[in-house]
Each structure stands twice: as C-alpha cells, then as structure tokens.
C-alpha cells in the first residue's frame, strides 16, 4: 500500500510540531528499562521446541563455563576417594610373607 499522496509539507510550523512530537515520544518511550538476560529463556525455548536436539547440555552452552562447578566436583571426588581408601585400607590386612622355595631334592634313579 502506497499512500505517498499524503506526504507532509515541509513548512516551518509543521517541522516545529514534528520536533515537539518527536521529543514527546522520545521522552515517553526512550527510557526503556535495562534489558534482562534473555540467554537462559531462549535456550530453554529452543531446547523444548527442538525436543532436546539443541542446547541439550545446558552447562556447555552457557556464556561462561562453570569453572567453579568443575573444581568443586573434582575436589569432592578426590575427598570421596581418600575416605574410601582410609576406610578400606585397614580391612585389607598384610600380605602373607613370601617363603623361599624348598630346595629341589633329586631322587635316585631305580
């Protein structure tokens, strides 16, 4: 649809009015709030709609790699392994002492 017949006249009065309206509009709408972070919501929507094909692994696709999570998990695993070792070691006992082999006795022939 082209309605170029209604193009505005560039008269001084209209220009001043347009400037005033523009100032009003800019004042009323120009101070939009700080935008929220949309990343998580967008990821979730894409994950759901692609039935898990995209952004299936939330961790690997976040903006910042979760270094702290990896570190804490590693430390917890090490502590768990240490505890298990400390618990099981006393139960394992000492290995049986190795006995030297008996000397070979050669039987006399018939």
């Amino acid at each position: 649809m082209t309605d170029s017949n209604d193009l505005p006249n560039d008269s001084e009065g209209e220009r001043v009015t347009d400037d005033a309206i523009r100032t009003l509009v800019r004042g009323a709408l120009g101070t939009a709030e700080d935008p929220p972070d949309l990343t998580r919501g967008v990821q979730e929507k894409i994950r759901v709609r692609s039935r898990g094909k995209f952004y299936a692994d939330g961790w690997s696709t976040t903006k910042h790699p979760p270094v702290t999570t990896y570190l804490v998990t590693s430390v917890l695993m090490l502590v768990a392994m240490g505890l298990i070792y400390a618990l099981l070691h006393p139960l394992s006992g000492e290995p049986a002492p190795a006995r030297p082999p008996e000397p070979v006795r050669v039987l006399p022939g018939p």
Partner: protein, 198 residues
C-alpha cells in the same frame, strides 16, 4: 569486501550450521536492542521479555532463509518488528479493553522524560509524568502500523532507508505514515490533555 562484511558472513555461516555458541553470541549482541525495541512497541515488561525471547527463537528457526540482502542487524530488527505487530494485533483482538501499558514502569525512570529545567519544581514533575503517561497511553492505542514507524524513527532514531528495509515499505509510505502517526498522536494527547501542545 570489508573485514566486517567477511566476519559477518562467517558468523552467519556458523548460525546456519546451527552452531549453538554462535547463536549465543547473537543473543548477547542483540538482546539489549531487541528487548528495548519490543518493550517500546508492546509497552509491558513481561510481555516484552517473552516476546524478545520469541524473536530469537524465530531467528534460530529462520536463519536458513536469511539471504544476506540486508545487514544481519536489519534482519533481526525486521523479525522483531513483525513479531511485535502480530502480537499487538493478537492482543488487540483478545483484550482490547484490558491492556494496561507501562503499568510496571517505575516513576524515577519515567520522570527522565522531562528536561532538568522542567523538573526543578514539584508541580512540573507531576505535570511531566502526567504528560508522559498520556503519551504512552496514546501510543499504545495507536494502530500497529503507525506505532511501528513512530518507534523506529522517533525513538530508535533509524534512517528512512533502514526503516524501509525493516518494514518493506517504500520511503514515501514510511514518511506519510510517520506524518500521520505524529498527527494522530498530537490529536490524541491534546484531547486527553485538554490543551494544545507545541
């Protein structure tokens, strides 16, 4: 070919390959602009947040159809504007009377409308806020086609060429719509205010 064009072309290739990290970069790059545009078009915070997310989902789904005829930013704007217009029309049909635009905006942010000299007196502050509110309501009542050009030109400060690319309209139509939109807004504000402006 300029370096920026080449890097944008490579970036688009990554998007078309459904590179998840590339898409996150796109969200990070455009989310502020998209959210602000959507908020200005729809006038409601939660609606704007949901709509802005939808815009990026649409971009993700439609990136294969991007032929590179325009800048990526222009294409993103086009999707955002079209999504908003559809939403406005849908909301207009569903809850014509129930819409309360800008209901959650805080007074200090709204108060920035008036200039500092106008805000030097408390009565002027109240008048400024009242006028701002009237303008917001009048814009929210406006047809989506007019609201679109008004926001793109008078708030987003885009050039006529950019607006033509985004809306797909000829320049003459954009200019006449803008002229009509301003005239409609002026009339609506004056009617609500009970006095002439400018």
């Amino acid at each position: 070919m300029k370096d920026s064009d080449e890097s944008e072309r490579r970036f688009i290739e990554r998007l078309k390959e459904r590179d998840e990290r590339a898409f996150l970069e796109l969200v990070a790059l455009y989310q502020a602009r998209v959210y602000k545009l959507v908020f200005r078009m729809l006038g409601e915070k939660h609606e704007a947040e949901d709509m802005a997310q939808e815009v990026f989902v649409q971009i993700f789904r439609a990136v294969d159809s991007f032929r590179g005829d325009s800048r990526l930013g222009t294409w993103v704007y086009r999707i955002a504007v079209n999504a908003c217009k559809n939403r406005i029309k849908y909301l207009g049909r569903r809850r014509a009377d129930a819409q309360e635009p800008y209901e959650e905006r805080e007074a200090p942010a709204a108060a920035r409308f008036a200039t500092s000299s106008e805000l030097s007196r408390p009565d002027h502050l109240v008048e400024g806020l009242q006028l701002e509110r009237i303008v917001q309501i009048s814009i929210a009542e406006m047809d989506a086609d007019f609201r679109e050009v008004l926001v793109l030109r008078d708030v987003e400060d885009l050039s006529y060429d950019e607006i033509c690319e985004i809306t797909g309209l000829p320049e003459g139509t954009v200019k006449s719509r803008l002229h009509r939109a301003r005239a409609m807004l002026k009339a609506a504000v004056e009617r609500k205010l009970g006095e002439t402006i400018a």
